[in-house]
Amino acid sequence: MAVTTKPLKKFGVVREVSAGSYLDPTTLVPVTSCDLKQSFDLIPDESLVGVCFPNAPLQGVRKCGGKIVMDVDALSSAAMLVAMTGTTASPYDLHATANNETLSITDLNEVKLNKRAGCSVSQWTITSQPNKALSASLDILGFVAESRATPTWPGTITINPGTLFLHHHLRSTGYARIGDQADALAAGDAVGLEEVVFGGNWNRKDDFDNTSQGSLQQLSGGGGRPSASLSFKISRHDSSLATQNDTVMGWRDAGTLLQMELYYYASATATLKVQIPNFRLSDADPTGDAISRIACKAGVGRNGIGASYVNSYMALNAPIRLTLVNS
């Protein structure tokens, strides 16, 4: 008797050519948790017919989605970065106008093979913390009904998980830098980060009409304007370092436009560079911990339009760019 057990699950993805048309997975993804599911709203029958109890509810619209949490690695993340940013190859920029990318997500357990087509990333964050692998959390919305088949893995996986990126890869050849936009970031802008969280929100939502019991394809911006986010915690409130002393609070009060670059260097063939070219600090405060940190939150914007960059030292318009090197 086959019983679903967590260690024997596996998840695969592939970029769809035509949104909603299922394709067999080609990339195995290092998922650590997943609650993708299909559910139906129930429509109660509240008719007054002279008896206490109502009739059974009716089946309403179908919703597909959930959250995937996965480690960020040098190889299989590429497929997810396409869906997260709307850009089909590295460097992955949060797309300037729309993200219409969809994935076919396949997960295998001991009982069934679940096939989900038409899946898009509604919002995502990447969290970098000490003693942990870089972790991505993705909210998924899908518009195609779940299909279940016999538990036999379909297709051929050509990309397996590679080197995981760790928080301390931001050292040595790697780095974390933050500074104003007066000049390009350099070694003197190095900062010690206890935590950094950045992400994008495409603000998708379910839309229903008569053509399907499920949602129409959930388009980016359907639920509100897309946005990017950034928060970080500087590990020490330290007078000896320009990026860790009261300069940060000065930036907050002056509304100084800032830039950040995180360069995860695991090896020459496994690097991830994150560039956030244009943001302001909304919050920056020494914490009340026994050893104070500086907790910061930022308002992230695009970096101009076309070649007219707000920050000319990062020639990109996207609020966040991720550059993945894996060969």
């Binding site: 330290d238 244009n278 405060d285 020494p286 104070s292």
Partner: protein, 379 residues
């Protein structure tokens, strides 16, 4: 290398000058004034923790420009606020009580009680919280000057490793007190400041007043006597927990003159303090009866005593709201109270020897310690 450690981040505070400033309010020590108080000896105050810090606001621009993502938000307000939490002491907090309550009559407070002890009576200013001339009945100081102003602003500093952080023109937005069995009387002051400044503000000279640092004069729960009942017929109660809180509804607004900063906050609504007692044992239905019948006038006092020191809160007119009995193994009686102002200041519920009641306050704080200075006239 200097790294900010919590145990090193001492706090100091002093009241902004109120005497003879009438000509200077806009630029001197008024809200956002151009001059700063110098914190130094005797200004340090022990505290537990604080969320006081620079708090700014920014406004997003969602203009439609054919781009998915908006540009960066724009800074639209600079300010500072937060709570300051401390263990209460019999000595060293008089500036804070004046700042929180708002009035100490210059003509009758403090009263000398002999042996180096003085009594202070702090009343709630029932008219305003912003910088304002003394009302006629308040002009009781022997050195009163027509240019004196009531100033309920403090400058509060914290010593961090990088710089001294100074919070200019701090207004009290409200405060709460709580005392639980086995614990101390703890205060939390809600602070609204003009801005946060960072630099050198003399923190090397911030020292504690004599006898204040250390736990010798902490106010623990077991020093407390609680009495509640009709005037003249107060009953002593066994309480495992008491608390009170009040908020000053201050208007927080900006205009074309104040620019990025808040203009001076002003009281824009009524103040409605609340209090609550937890009687350790439900042994009588008296308080259920009081919550059903509000025709009986009640008053209450909370007095902590330690040798010659005293700290007391006096509530001249209270009513019991929905008293309830808990579901504990031994049931307790929770007695929430609404607090009202002195019903008749000409015949007050409580009298404080030598002190003249001016405001008709909702709550009086009566403090007996070795401080000989009237806080409203301190600077």
């Amino acid at each position: 290398m200097a790294i900010t450690k919590k145990t090193d981040t001492i706090m100091a505070a002093d009241l902004c000058i109120g005497k003879v400033i009438g000509s200077y309010v806009g630029t001197y020590h008024g809200w956002g004034g151009s001059s700063l108080m110098t914190l130094g000896a005797g200004h340090a105050v022990p505290y537990i923790d604080t969320t006081l810090g620079g708090k700014n606001k920014s406004e997003p621009d969602d203009s439609i420009e054919g781009q998915a993502f908006p540009d960066t938000p724009v800074l639209t307000e600079i300010g500072a606020n937060g709570d300051i939490n401390m263990v209460c002491r019999y000595l060293g907090l008089d500036r804070w009580w004046y700042w929180a309550f708002g009035y100490e009559d210059a003509g009758s407070s403090p009263q000398s009680l002999g042996a180096g002890y003085y009594s202070h009576l702090y009343e709630m200013d029932l008219h305003e919280r912003h910088v304002t001339p003394y009302r006629t009945a308040e002009q009781t100081a022997g050195d009163y000057n027509a240019l004196d102003r009531k100033v309920r602003l403090m400058q509060i500093g914290r010593k961090l490793a990088t710089n001294d952080y100074l919070y200019q023109s701090c207004a009290c937005e409200g405060f709460s007190l709580q005392s639980k069995a086995g614990d101390f009387l703890r205060a939390s002051f809600k602070t609204l400041a003009y801005k946060e400044l960072r630099g050198s503000y003399n923190s090397a000279a911030w020292t504690f007043p004599a006898g204040v640092a250390g736990s010798a004069l902490d106010i623990p729960h077991h020093h407390l006597t609680v009495q509640l009942g009709p005037p003249g017929a107060l009953v002593t109660l066994g309480c495992s927990d008491i608390s009170m809180s009040l908020t000053y509804p201050l208007r927080k607004d900006k205009d074309t003159v104040s620019g990025l900063y808040l203009e001076e906050p002003k009281l824009e609504g009524t103040v409605e303090p609340k209090a609550s007692l937890t009687l350790s044992t439900h042994a009588t239905d008296t308080y259920q009866a009081y919550s059903e019948d509000w025709s009986t006038a009640l008053c209450m006092k909370w007095v902590w005593t330690f040798g010659s020191y005293q700290f007391g809160l006096y509530f001249p007119d209270v009513r019991v709201e929905n008293a309830e009995i808990t579901g504990d193994g031994v049931a307790k009686n929770i007695v929430p109270l609404s607090i009202r102002k002195e019903p008749n200041i000409a015949a007050p519920v409580f009298t404080f020897t030598g002190h003249t009641l001016i405001q008709g306050s909702m709550i009086y704080a009566w403090v007996k310690n070795t401080n000989s200075t009237n806080e409203m006239r301190r600077n």
